[in-house]
């Protein structure tokens, strides 16, 4: 479904991604793990067209078509089936919950948007209660639900989720991870960026570990959960040569 090949990405004067290659197969949940500043968000922004790679390719294969994401504009990438639920939720605080969801369906011309809104109300009952309220007045967890529902409103084939657990109360985190599994069951492939490696590995099929813009580990989630090097990385005990 998604293939990244040797991506080199720069932000201003500094290179943030070095030769990133990864694959996400249809129907998978793939986790992208790493510490703050490792390049997780930059990877997602490159996939959704907000950052442009200087080298390498990002290919989306969907419906028998191949899309070169490094050449498409951000709106074409959404139209091709990629939705990006950004770091820190970034709901439109001055818009109502319903308006936020309508924005998620901005590019859709089919007549089923209203029907999908209903569906989101079933998936996230809190959204139905707060439909007319301003998104900015919701709690962090509720805003996360709005952000995820908004992303789903484009009917994505691939959902990019950036740190959905960040800053949420523990029971809210559980709810969010339950929803991610539901999303996959509904047929959407998920690329999940997380700092909470334990929980991410619980629901993911496979995972990649990013350190300082490079992929240093990858494999099935169950194996990585047991990996000593991963535990070291998360305890900040990475070998000296990696931390220069």
């Amino acid at each position: 479904m998604l293939v990244l090949e040797g991506l080199d990405v720069w932000r201003g004067p500094s290179q943030v991604l070095h030769q990133i290659s990864l694959e996400v197969a249809k129907g998978e949940i793939v986790a992208l793990l790493g510490a703050n500043g490792a390049g997780k968000t930059s990877t997602l922004l490159t996939i959704s067209g907000l950052l442009r790679p200087r080298g390498g390719r990002a290919i989306l294969v969907e419906g028998g078509q191949e899309f070169d994401l490094s050449r498409l504009s951000a709106d074409r990438i959404v139209a091709a089936g990629v939705a990006h639920c950004p770091e820190g939720r970034q709901v439109f605080g001055g818009l109502s919950v319903t308006e936020n969801l309508r924005m998620g369906a901005f590019l859709r011309r089919d007549g089923e948007v209203a029907q999908d809104m209903e569906e989101m109300g079933r998936l996230f009952p809190i959204l139905r209660e707060r439909a007319g309220g301003l998104a900015g007045q919701l709690s962090g967890g509720e805003q996360m639900m709005v952000a995820i529902a908004r992303a789903l409103m484009s009917r994505p084939k691939l959902l990019l989720l950036d740190e959905p657990s960040l800053g949420l109360a523990p029971q809210m985190v559980d709810a969010v991870f339950d929803i991610i599994e539901t999303i996959r069951e509904r047929g959407t492939t998920v690329l999940l960026v997380e700092q909470n490696a334990g929980m991410a590995l619980d629901i993911a099929d496979r995972a990649y570990v990013l350190e300082q813009g490079k992929i240093t580990l990858s494999g099935p989630a169950a194996e990585l959960a047991e990996d000593r090097r991963l535990q070291e990385a998360y305890l900040g005990l990475a070998p000296a040569e990696a931390s220069s």
């Binding site: 907000l50 504009s73 709106d75 950004p86 439109f92 001055g94 309508r102 924005m103 908004r150």
Partner: protein, 298 residues
Amino acid sequence: MTSSYLLQQVLNGLVLGSVYALVAVGFSMIYGIVRLINFAHGDVLMVGAFTAFGILLVFGFPLWAAVLAVLTIGAILAMLIDLVAFRPQRNAPQVNGFITSLGVSILMQNLGILLLSGRPRPFNLPDWLRSNLEIAGARMTVLEVVTVVITLVVLAGLTLFVRGTRLGIGMRATAENPTAARLMGIRVNRAIATAFALGGALAGLAGLLYAGRAGQIHPLMGFVPGLKAFVAAVIGGVGSLVGAVLGGYLLGFAEVLFVGLMPPAYGSYRDAFVFGLLILILLIMPNGLMGRAAEERA
């Protein structure tokens, strides 16, 4: 003071406030979406006035054609200014855009003087627009009634657009968070162009109405209403459309009441009064009447 005199002042305020509101709404809308203090906005009004002059008085077309023309020309001109002057420096600091807008304003004024001469020209609307109507002892010209009605219709239409349509909500979303808007598939440059087009159309329309009231046009005529619209937008809370309309009417009423209630000798201090009012309101409510806590500090 008789009640008909007071009514007369209120009606005058309503008319003046309508023109200010039309310009201020566009000004505020553009600020809201690109955080740009656009001082060239008043000069779009000037071009609207000259367009109306050409259509009505040079070519002798009917009023509806002039309204259509000022809306179109205003929209195209504002989009063009955005494309040429502002878009190339979209990510530059806020002050760059502000200075650029001053440059665009001076350029347009001087182009106007060069091409059209700086000499004021009489702008006389058809007689039927200048005939008087009597309302409970107060008098209004047909043009003034038209001004108020058109303004209210246009503002209602704008509200429906911004609240209810996909593109309108998309504009608000872009104003709030351009990055998230792009992730929704909204083309940010197109949303911004839409704001400029709407703002420009309203300024063009205001040009027709303002010139009809003043009875003359000249290339520097956009400066004062542009500045007043800026004041109205700031009083209302820049970025808020409702605030801009409120600010426009408040300013219109304040100005007319000041001139109408003070002895005639003070009449020429009206602008000093307007800016004094601005300072007073900002001292009490730094974000304006409808403004949210200042988030525009880049």
